[in-house]
Each structure stands twice: as structure tokens, then as C-alpha cells.
Amino acid sequence: MSALPAQQTGPGEPFLIGEGMTGGYGAADILHDCTVSVRRGEIAVIVGPNGAGKSTAMKAVFGMLPLRKGRVRIGGTDITGLAPQARVAEGMAFVPQTRNIFGALTVEENLEMGAFLRRDDIHATLEQVYHLFPILRDKRRQAAGELSGGQRQQVAVGRALMTQPQVLMLDEPTAGVSPIVMDELFDRIIEVARTGISILMVEQNARQALQIADRGFVLVQGSNAYTDTGAALLADPEVRRTFLGG
């Protein structure tokens, strides 16, 4: 655990913040003084061109990338030194972009495995997930690997929600799904945020993602290029011209 005492975050303060993150996998840094954050119950979206380090920033926040500089704090507690598994216990949940379900397990078993660390009764949480994603209730005895792309993403998000996280981190949740399914997933993500869970996500579909975002981070080459509310970024002619295709 960190040496810093846990401080309460004020209403305007970010609940989760990766601040001034610099680091990479090898000798070369991918992130350069990059900052991403999300406030309680809000949706923050990281967008940017290919290779901008969006997913890398996400992984850095979750502790899957060694940082040379910068800190990660959740609720005022410094968690920079914690392993990803320990961050799950701190209230973070991560949905990877690929291989984010147990394909050979049934939908319900996937959700049970999401709650593996919990020793209390998980039925209420299970009900919440089924309420959020009704299709999963119908398919709960089916192997998750047999579901459609959109349904798999629902399983993946549902599995992450089973730990009752305070922050849900999604790495391109709409990658490879149809536009209709994408809209539905975004609706569900808004619903999750309304329950008080902060959402930090990386999105390829920048325009749609910024429409639902309370806060947007435009990354370019591992650095913050623009940071504002989703609406302001969408309205910014410079951002529109360079990233959103006019």
C-alpha cells in the first residue's frame, strides 16, 4: 500500500487520475507527460489517431505499463506501485480490448469468475448485470464464446461489473461491432455511469464517444493535445478538422 494517507476527493476533483505519465515497454517512451482522469460517476473518453498511445495510457493507469514518471491516484490514494490485481481490490475494473471473456465458460460462469475475489453473496450484483444486459439472462447457460460480438462485449463489461468497481475501464468496447450494437453499448455505458460508477474508456469511434463523454482527452503521440468536455471538443473547429474529419 502507498505511504500517502487516503484523502477524500472533492466534488470537482477527479476520482481516478493518471498524472504526468511517462513510460513505455522498452527503451523508448510511448507516453510523454500524459494525463487522463475521470470524476465520480462521469464518463471520460480517450480519443486520438492510431498509434497515439490511447490504449497504452489506459494500461498505464491500470498498472500494466511501467512508468518512469508520473503518478496514478484513486480517491486520493496513490496506487502507482500496485500490481493490476491489487488495483482490482482498490475498486478498479478493466475490460481488455481482446480476449476479454472466458469463451469456454457459460455466460453465468463468466460473471461468477468476475466476482471470484468476493466472498459475499453475489446474487444482487448478478441481478443488476442481468437487468442492465437482459440478453445475458436469456443466454446465461450458453458458452460465452458462442455469442455474437456485441453480446460478448456485454459479457465482458458484465464480468468487470461483478467486482462492484468504482471505476470501469473499457479499452475500445465497440471495436468490431455493428453501428446499431455500438449505439446500444453506449446507452448501456451511460446507464452504468448513472449508477455512480466512473467510466474511463478508449474509443476509436471518436465522434460518437465524445457525444456521451463528460470529458474527452485527445492524445497525439503519447501527449495530451486537447482536453475539454466532450461537447466542447466536438464544437472545437480545430479538433473537428484534425481528428473528426470535418
Binding site: Q85, A89, P96, R99, N100, F102, L105, E109, F116
Partner: protein
């Protein structure tokens, strides 16, 4: 009555022995497939783990017999089995601690673990031969037959007799119980589900807080139990000879691969496919055909496709055929 006689002859020489053998292979293949699914390598030491488990059980059986403890009509070895499993579990856990864990931490390629397991195989092989010797050991006791050929003939009035040995019946019953327990464990318990989750997606299992070392330890314990049970049942049914167990590695691997490595259902199906093929192809059908065909057509030869000396070739041939036409096995196993 001729077709009935043919059927009884077939049951006596093919169906009953192949079912017992298939159950033994299935238990062996389940152990191989579990190690493959969880630890992600082909464990060449499995045959010798079976030999070790059987050896410990035999030594305990002899000790029990010397104390005049028997199990009535059932073999005394069944009483010694739990202790045999426990000792084998300790051996494989110790092996994992001093050998496999070292390589696991380095995240070595699976092929290196395969070679490491061959080293373990030679060591276990040596231990078994050193302790109990290289010769045949007989340790079956209790009633020899459930039904013997003469009683069957007297009972049914048929010319052909059907003998079912106690060990064959025990093999099948034990295998069914063990497999049912294993599937219940894997599909119904939290620990079992976490093992399947770990086997399916290691990274996501870590993200879910599943402890890999615990999963690995439980896997080894289950594998020790399966190997010991398979080894003892095989020894009761045939005889115990260390070299035979080493040779069993081939049909066991063939069974696991034919069924689809990593798939428990596949391992069971594969075990029976291999066993029935091996017995059928090496059985002389002269007698069965003699009952079925008119006298004029009665075969002069033995009607045996392959000499029993070539039975291991059957496993190889099936393996090649399955890999050619369905590389992931009958039940889609893991590919990496």
C-alpha cells in the same frame, strides 16, 4: 443361436476387455489433458507418474496383506489406493515446486516444459525401478470373476462363455465414479470453474483475481489422483510392470490428442476410441465369423488384421488420421 454365440464371443474377447482398457486409457488421458489445459505442456512423465502411484499402492497393499487385512471379494489394493494417491500427490507437488515452477516463472516455451517433463519421466522411471524392480508384480486378490465362462455357459446354454473379471468390473465402476466426480468438480464448484477459467484465458483469470499457483497445485493433486487410479486399475486388470507403464504413454497421448487436447470429454472419448481400435484390429475374428458365416465360407485363416505385437501402431495410425482430418481433435481442444 449362432448369431448369439458370435455376439458373446465378441463381447468376451473384444467388448469387455476393450471397455476396461478404454476406461484405463480415459483416466490416463484425463490427467494428460488437464496438465495440458492448465500448465500448457504435454507431460511425458504421466506414464511414470501412473507407475509411481501404482507402486506405492502395491507396497501398501502388500503391507496390508501381511497384516491380514483384506477387502473381502474386492482387491485389497482399493483400500491402499487413497494413501497411494496422497503419496503421489506429494511427489508431483514436490516436483512442481523444485522443477516446473522454476521454468514457469521464466515463462519458457511449452516445448521446453515438454523436455523438462521427459527429464522428470526418467527420474520417476528410475525411482520406481529402484524401489520395486523391473519385473512383473501381481497384487490382485479377492474374487477373480464376476461371471466366469463356465457359469455363463451353464446359465445360458450357449456354446460360448462370457467371462467378466472382477477387476474389469471394478475398473469400469471406478472410472465412472471418478469421471462423474471430476466433472462435478470442474463444472459445479468455484475452484473447478476457476480452473476452467484459467485454462481458457490466463490473462483474464489473473485480472479476475484467480491465483495461478493455487490452480496449478490443485491441478497436480487431481492429476496425481487420476494417474494413481489409472495405474492401479491397469495393474489390477493386467499386471504391474514399470516398462509397460512407460509404453502406455503412447496410447494415452493418442487418446488425449484424438479427443482434443485440453478437452476432458474428448479425453474420455479418445480413450475408448483408441482402446476399441487396438483390441478390434488385433483380435482374430475367426471364431466370430465362424458362427456368422455358412460353413462353406468359414475362414481358413485367423482373420486377424494385425498381430498384437503391432498394437501400438494402431494408436499411431489413428493419431495420424485424426490429425489429418480434424487437427483439433474430435472435441475441439486448445490449439496453442
Amino acid at each position: 443361436m449362432e448369431p448369439l454365440n458370435a455376439l458373446v464371443a465378441l463381447a468376451n474377447f473384444v467388448i469387455v476387455p476393450a471397455t476396461a482398457y478404454g476406461a484405463q486409457l480415459a483416466l490416463g488421458a484425463l490427467g494428460v489433458t488437464l496438465i495440458y489445459g492448465i500448465l500448457r505442456f504435454s507431460n511425458f512423465a504421466h506414464g511414470d507418474t501412473m507407475a509411481f502411484g501404482a507402486m506405492v499402492t502395491i507396497l501398501l497393499t502388500w503391507w496390508l496383506q501381511a497384516q491380514d487385512v483384506t477387502f473381502g471379494v474386492l482387491p485389497t489394493a482399493l483400500l491402499a489406493l487413497p494413501a497411494g494417491i496422497a503419496v503421489t500427490a506429494l511427489l508431483v507437488l514436490a516436483t512442481d515446486r523444485v522443477v516446473y515452477r522454476f521454468y514457469r516463472r521464466q515463462r519458457v516455451a511449452p516445448v521446453i516444459l515438454v523436455i523438462v517433463s521427459m527429464g522428470v519421466m526418467f527420474v520417476m522411471n528410475g525411482i520406481v525401478r529402484f524401489v520395486i524392480g523391473v519385473d512383473d508384480q501381481v497384487f490382485a486378490d479377492g474374487a477373480r470373476f464376476l461371471i466366469n465362462a463356465r457359469d455363463f455357459r451353464d446359465l445360458t446354454g450357449l456354446d460360448e462363455g462370457l467371462a467378466i473379471r472382477t477387476t474389469q468390473a471394478i475398473t469400469l465402476v471406478t472410472a465412472i465414479v471418478v469421471v462423474a466426480a471430476l466433472f462435478w468438480f470442474l463444472n459445479r464448484t468455484r475452484t473447478g470453474k476457476s480452473m476452467r477459467a484459467y485454462s481458457d484465458n490466463e490473462d483474464l483469470a489473473l485480472l479476475s483475481g484467480i491465483d495461478p499457483e493455487r490452480v496449478v497445485a490443485i491441478t497436480w493433486i487431481i492429476v496425481a489422483a487420476l494417474a494413481t487410479i489409472a495405474g492401479v486399475l491397469y495393474g489390477l486388470d493386467k499386471t504391474f510392470k514399470p516398462f509397460t507403464y512407460f509404453q502406455l504413454l503412447l496410447p494415452i497421448f493418442a487418446a488425449a490428442i484424438v479427443g482434443g487436447l485440453g478437452s476432458p470429454v474428448g479425453a474420455i472419448a479418445g480413450g475408448f476410441v483408441i482402446a476399441f481400435s487396438e483390441v478390434t484390429v488385433t483380435y482374430a475374428f475367426k471364431k466370430v465369423l465362424g458362427y456368422l458365416l455358412p460353413d462353406a465360407l468359414e475362414p481358413a485363416g485367423l482373420m486377424q488384421l494385425l498381430s498384437t505385437d503391432y498394437k501400438f501402431a494402431v494408436s499411431f495410425a489413428i493419431l495420424v488420421i485424426v490429425l489429418l482430418f480434424r487437427p483439433t481433435g474430435l472435441f475441439r481442444g486448445q490449439t496453442s
